[in-house]
Symmetry: C2
Subunit: 285 residues, 2 copies
């Protein structure tokens, strides 16, 4: 059975949800998105995600159409209509600049109503066995645009970078910008060295993740040494541990980078500790 999605005011089966070919999301990738985890039927840090959604809209000059409470209301309606009570899912929200009459790079004048699409999708989470074994990643030069802090749907660079991981039997592609590891193609990056957790500082080149922020908070609350610092490619190779994190995949331990074994090739103790803390936080929601 096709799940029920929200599209511009209507609740329709996903298989029937269609948008005009003149929507600027389809013609120009002219929009932004957000992903909110749903654990045991409960929203995970939705306020932070919805605030970032508003910041993304401002960054690309789409006038706000909905208040945060209105998004929350639609999310609740989607959870109800799809009978989500105990499952783990995620909410996907996409807002585009709306539907043009002709195709022109420039914003429609007068401005049109933004298009809003929201759906529930399955979290594809690694199994316990996979997590205990660890994952492989590759590194590539960061080919993305300069304003990576904007969570845009113009994602072709990320798509191609992410696919390179798959072509190399890996899980994620870590992006190197001017010699520094920034983040993954759709995740943030942490490494551990000599007992300290390190993550690159926020910049315009990075999409500062909500999960990344939570991990920093949880480390601080649990007295685990953590700092924001630049990470070079050589730092990465000589890490004791590497993690990639995202709202849809939590914390994934990387034990092999560019076909080089990281440390002893085993999932590390700091990851075990953080994973337990993270799981505890989610279970207590």
């Amino acid at each position: 059975m096709s799940s029920i999605v929200y599209l511009n005011g209507e609740y329709v089966p996903r298989s029937e949800a269609r948008i005009s070919v003149m929507d600027r999301g389809f013609l120009f990738g002219d929009g932004i998105y957000e992903i909110i985890g749903v654990y045991n039927g409960r929203l995970f840090r939705s306020e932070q995600h919805l605030e970032r959604l508003q910041r993304s809209l401002m960054a690309i000059k789409i006038e706000h159409q909905f208040r945060i409470e209105e998004y929350e209301q639609i999310i609740q309606e989607l959870l109800e209509q799809n009978n989500i009570t105990t499952e783990n899912k995620y909410i996907y929200i996409q807002v585009t600049r709306g539907i043009s009459t002709t195709r022109s790079h420039n914003f429609p004048k007068p401005s049109v109503k933004p298009s809003i699409f929201m759906m529930l999708d399955d979290l594809v989470r690694p199994s316990f066995a996979q997590l205990q074994k660890g994952f492989k990643a590759i590194t590539r030069e960061d080919s993305r645009w300069k304003d990576c802090f904007i969570k845009t749907i113009s994602l072709l660079p990320n798509v191609l970078l992410s696919e390179e991981a798959i072509e190399n039997d890996a899980t994620e592609t870590i992006l190197i910008h001017n010699g520094y590891a920034i983040e993954g193609s759709n995740s943030n990056l942490f490494n551990v060295k000599n007992g300290v957790i390190i993550t690159p500082p926020k910049s315009e080149h990075m999409l500062g993740g909500i999960t990344r922020e939570l991990i920093i908070e949880l480390a601080q609350q649990n007295n685990l040494p953590i700092k924001e610092n630049n990470i070079t490619l050589n730092d990465l190779y000589s890490s004791d541990e590497i993690w990639v994190t995202s709202a849809s995949r939590d914390i994934m331990p990387i034990v092999n980078l560019d076909d080089q074994i990281i440390a002893n090739g085993q999932v590390g103790p700091m990851w075990q500790q953080m994973q337990t803390i993270f799981q505890g936080y989610k279970d207590a929601l």
Copy 2:
């Protein structure tokens, strides 16, 4: 009356043409496009455009679905169904990776059928009076991704850069990469200095336009001195003439850059000459 467009095998009024929200064009900007001018009902360099379309598809690893003749057949059908015989229009072609069942950066496995959308749209051409007066442009740092040679629909960077021109009462934004002027947000760039026409050499940072190539050809055929060379921002300011060129706007003379008057602020003699040659070429089609 809404014009007839082509969408995945069907000819439908544009106002009724709708695509699944799960199309990767809508979710990821995961596709490419092409624009072919139609003058007096005749296609302008369609073979070159369709060959570039195939190269774009290969570059983003979408398997070819149509041969060039099949695109040409649909174009003819669109011209007929919309009764285009003498008008100036352009054909827009967009191909995306197709429709996924779930949202994942990675290519669908097994691969799905690409989505193909084609429409006719109006050429918004400057009037003779506007052309004789010349246009204003601005410069901005090139914020786009590294593989600008791919004509992708992930166009948010171009959209935002192009809109900055409008906000500054200008027509186009010329992009500066590492100190060199590369091209416009949706055009190629030429300048004239001491009787020589200059255009930046092709690179991965540039979308080498079909119109750009034609201008080079026409200059050579007509013994106008032309060369490919890097152009710095200072070179631009001290130009005798600046032009931006595209399939939808031909050759536009720029007489004001970043609020600085270029040369004497008048449209230059080389532009007049090239414009006449270009118009003659089109009339002889």
